[in-house]
Subunit: 97 residues, 2 copies
Amino acid sequence: MNIREFQDMMHRIYFQRDSQRGKTGTYNWLKEEIEELSEALKENDQKALENEFADVLAWLASLANVVAVDLETAAISKYDSKCPRCRKVPCKCLFSK
Amino acid sequence: MNIREFQDMMHRIYFQRDSQRGKTGTYNWLKEEIEELSEALKENDQKALENEFADVLAWLASLANVVAVDLETAAISKYDSKCPRCRKVPCKCLFSK
């Protein structure tokens, strides 16, 4: 499934609700899912972990819909098969994250 | 671009570094990008906003690589073209987010 197809799916399912809630409320739910992901990372339940990753991606796509960002275009524009900073694969950045 | 293709791209570019850093450190960088996204949402710069969305997706995929989660499978398994809770499109959940 394309990143765009997934974002479109979130649009069909949730945009009515997401757009009414707005960007701040939707961002806050994304942040909550990030916290839940943190908890899942400490546990030993791979299925629960997958569930949280799915939720973070879903809320990221939902937020992207609210602020009219195309996730796929944004991601490909920046990452274009190599590190955007050092331009290498694998990344050879010094003093990096 | 498939979600999986993007995750594979992050693997080629960053896994060497991500795996050495580990899941906690990689999660912390994801969390930092979420904070940067929050700041970008307050501004009026669509390109900067797209940049932050790209970074969040990249770090989510990087973290998924570190903990061996397939983002695409996780997302499709849960969201399967309808709200996983009420099973409707659009979502008709009551007392929901």
